[in-house]
């Protein structure tokens, strides 16, 4: 069975470490916040200028001046700090964020990522995605393994305009967890009940099955 969105978030959360500063993108990455282990202290960075994003507010706490990068109303947790956008991206570009999780349309064997522009469709912009992928050492891309039409999103070469070049090393799809190394996807983990053969079939880029490939458990 392919992973649900919640399971994907749960799997990403296993990459968290106590004391991490983490930037979570919109969509599945946002859900990761729900699976931070209780014994860990993790500070969430929101690129509009908030380090220490908290829960959504109650009606009484609702504050138009307190939003996240997805423009949702949020709260600040204990120990949070707030700053301007240049400062926020200094943290990101300067490599101070320990883990970045974001979605994508395509990833390729060279670690290129395309996530912001589909030619012929209206382009709304890259927001902070280009800065995030350029600045972070440790990035996990979350996406479905194939498009709705069954086209692989793990490619020999991205077909869409890039968000960043050579910056992705880890990909979690609904079928597998893979790492990118030496011009290939390395299959490290399969979703429960998903065969290695199915993943090979749905991966267009060069794929190497790791010797110690294992099935995820939840």
């Amino acid at each position: 069975m392919a992973l649900t969105r919640e399971q994907m978030a749960q799997r990403v959360a296993r990459e968290l470490k106590d004391g991490y500063y983490v930037n979570l993108g919109i969509g599945i990455p946002t859900l990761v916040a729900n699976y931070v282990p209780a014994d860990m202290d993790v500070m969430l960075q929101s690129e509009n200028g908030l380090l220490g994003m908290g829960e959504f507010p109650t009606e009484g706490q609702l504050d138009a001046d307190m939003i996240n990068a997805g423009k949702q109303t949020v709260t600040a947790r204990r120990g949070a700090s707030i700053f301007n956008s240049a400062e926020s991206f200094a943290m990101i570009r300067g490599g101070h964020v320990d883990l970045t999780v974001l979605g994508a349309f395509e990833v390729d064997v060279e670690g290129n990522i395309a996530s912001w522009m589909i030619p012929g469709k209206l382009v709304k912009g890259m927001g902070g995605a280009m800065d995030l992928v350029a600045g972070a050492e440790n990035i996990i891309v979350t996406m479905t393994h194939a498009s709705k039409d069954g086209e692989s999103k793990l490619l020999p070469r991205c077909s869409l305009p890039l968000t960043g070049a050579g910056c992705i090393r880890k990909v979690l799809t609904d079928l597998a967890y893979l790492e990118i190394d030496n011009g290939a996807f390395i299959l490290k983990e399969t979703a429960p009940g998903v065969s290695v053969e199915e993943i090979i079939e749905k991966t267009a880029g060069k794929l190497i099955v790791a010797d110690d490939v294992k099935e995820m458990t939840f």
Binding site: D63, A86, M130, A165
Partner: protein
């Protein structure tokens, strides 16, 4: 202190000198921390041909979106747009030019503009459409592109509190691009919720020192929420 008293009484005075074809830097992220009354004054003045530099372009009927209604914006420099139907229409019809800029690069362009740095190298955008036509250089084996600073004829800024000297503090994440825009305007206008007596704001807590600010005005704000999310 008259020479350093930045207060003006009317929005008309606040934007005196704003004319057609100027470049306006605007603070705000989405609808958070936007100078809503200064935007309304730009609309009232009817100036056209503007280049507007802002992270976003508001929504239909609010924020910078209202300047689209009378086609006052010729060119928009932003990181994320299209939350409004009119924007989309003008973009597709070619009436509006858009220069999409990565968010961190946009912030740094304003910061650099205000700090007298004409350009800077960044890894952001290397190998992407953003790098097209830009100088590339390697430092320590990594590729960087040269990005030029941005300055504006006017900067329009939303603060929380200011004093007569134009010292400004921002509230929560309504800070965002505001302090950066404030540094990079030839004329910087700040509208705030409250003007306090000099000495009330702690010197060590000022976000924007008054040296960057030319005019301060107090206004009332709707503070519309774009995505109202509350705990279940």
């Amino acid at each position: 202190m008259a020479g350093l008293d930045k207060r003006v009484a009317t929005y008309e005075q606040a934007l005196e000198g704003l004319t057609d074809d100027m470049t306006v830097l605007a603070g705000g992220f989405g609808l958070c921390g936007i100078p809503e009354n200064l935007i309304a004054e730009i609309k009232r003045r009817g100036v056209t041909g503007l280049t507007v530099v802002s992270n976003n372009c508001g929504v239909d009927g609010f924020g910078l979106g209202v300047l689209l209604e009378d086609r006052q914006i010729r060119k928009m420099i932003a990181s994320y747009v299209g939350e409004n139907a009119e924007f989309e229409r003008q973009l597709l019809s070619g009436e509006l030019e858009v220069e999409l800029t990565p968010q961190g690069t946009l912030a740094e362009k304003m910061r650099a503009g205000g700090a007298g740095i004409p350009a800077f190298y960044t890894a952001t955008g290397y190998g992407t459409p953003v790098a097209e036509g830009k100088e590339v250089r390697q430092f320590n084996g990594r590729h960087y592109i040269l990005e030029e600073a941005i300055t504006g004829d006017f900067a329009i800024v939303k603060g929380w509190k200011a004093d007569h000297y134009g010292n400004v503090v921002y509230r929560n994440t309504a800070q965002n691009f505001n302090p950066l825009a404030a540094t990079a305007g030839r004329i910087t206008v700040v509208e705030v919720e409250e003007i306090v007596e000099p000495g009330v704001l702690l010197p060590s807590e000022i976000h924007t020192p008054g040296i960057y600010v030319d005019r301060v005005i107090v206004g009332t704000f709707e503070k519309r929420i774009e995505k109202r999310t509350v705990k279940a």
